[in-house]
Symmetry: C2
Subunit: 214 residues, 2 copies
């Protein structure tokens, strides 16, 4: 896939959080979010059994594939292979990128979280397809993250790499425009959609903002 | 691999437990256990990050491969593929066996935990290479397990299947002989070796017992 095509697919990137669903099912929230304009879904499960994770990933694949929305699996290549995911997202404590590239079919794209300028420099020599700039702002969703990049840091990353950039961490409608201005190709959101009263409307508002910029 | 060759490799089957090492490194304990006669090592990590799990699996592969001792990865096919493990062990909450078989190279063997007679019957129609009869006795190592099979249950499983059987759960030198008499091809032990004052001596004693029976 070309870099520009991938950048398009990453425009509004939903990261799931089973804790943020307010009692709704994950599949329902994802479907509403996609109807509202989410362009990519990352399934992130940190406590589910492998069996449950695979079942959920397969269920989401069935929903998303006909809609042309890529499913990205966080961390777990076994789950990605099992459900035929289009992408994998790796953090600094996940499988090394070069090893993941060897194990995945060539058409599966790999995203990688960058937390420091050193990470961004290393990415130039790694088989990664996009970068997750993490976190842009401080966020209660993930508490194990590094120092926030801020908008200046995001500008700095933009200047360092031609890879598509997905900004994650504390992003919502109120700061989406400035994150895109700073150079992000896509916005990753968790609670701004997962916990919204109406995930479809929340996604619509964010997508309108993204469309105005790109 | 033939069933009888696999049964031989499973004779004394060490399952690792990072909580049971009494401050020693996993690699050291495994190496001592293998020197004492362990024939197969299952790496089981339930809290490690994927990066740490892969690093540990690769380190054990380097130690075990030259010794001809197979490494089996518990649950995680991504880790098994990354380190080139010889086997994968799947429990009832892990990836479905048929799916795992599709994702693994044909030479990688698959073990499957059976907790009920229904599981044993289902195994006849699944691509599994050996069964873990789990638990034979009640054990504090795993608290999420089903009702113990007991020696009678193990006899019952033996009568139901020609697959190699590895007995696990509360096995130590004091009951090893009766577990083998009941029909196990191999003994799986966790704390009887991992927590032993001398893992090499503990493995030696168990191996002598196994050799007398098989």
């Amino acid at each position: 896939m070309s870099t520009s095509r991938l950048a398009q697919l990453l425009r509004l990137y939903l990261v799931t959080d089973p804790q943020a669903l307010r009692g709704r099912t994950l599949t329902d929230v994802v479907l509403q979010a996609v109807q509202g304009g989410v362009t990519c879904v990352q399934l992130r499960e940190k406590t589910a059994s492998t069996r449950d994770f695979v079942a959920l990933a397969c269920a989401l694949t069935e929903v998303l594939k006909p809609l042309g929305v890529p499913l990205v699996i966080n961390d777990r290549l076994d789950v990605a292979l099992a459900c035929g995911a289009q992408g994998v997202h790796l953090g600094q404590s996940d499988m090394p990128v070069a090893l993941a590239r060897q194990l995945l079919p060539p058409e599966v794209f790999i995203g990688w979280s960058v937390e420091t300028p050193d990470d961004v420099q290393r990415a130039a020599h790694l088989p990664v397809d996009y970068l997750g700039v993490s976190p842009v702002f401080a966020t209660p969703t993930k508490t194990d993250t590094a120092t926030p990049w801020g908008l200046e840091g995001l500008c700095q990353v933009r200047a360092m790499t031609p890879l598509p950039l997905v900004a994650i961490g504390g992003i919502h409608l109120g700061n989406a425009a400035e994150v895109l201005t700073a150079g992000a190709d896509g916005l990753a959101v968790v609670s701004a959609i997962c916990s919204a009263d109406d995930p479809c409307l929340a996604a619509q508002a964010l997508r309108t903002c993204v469309n105005a910029f790109l």
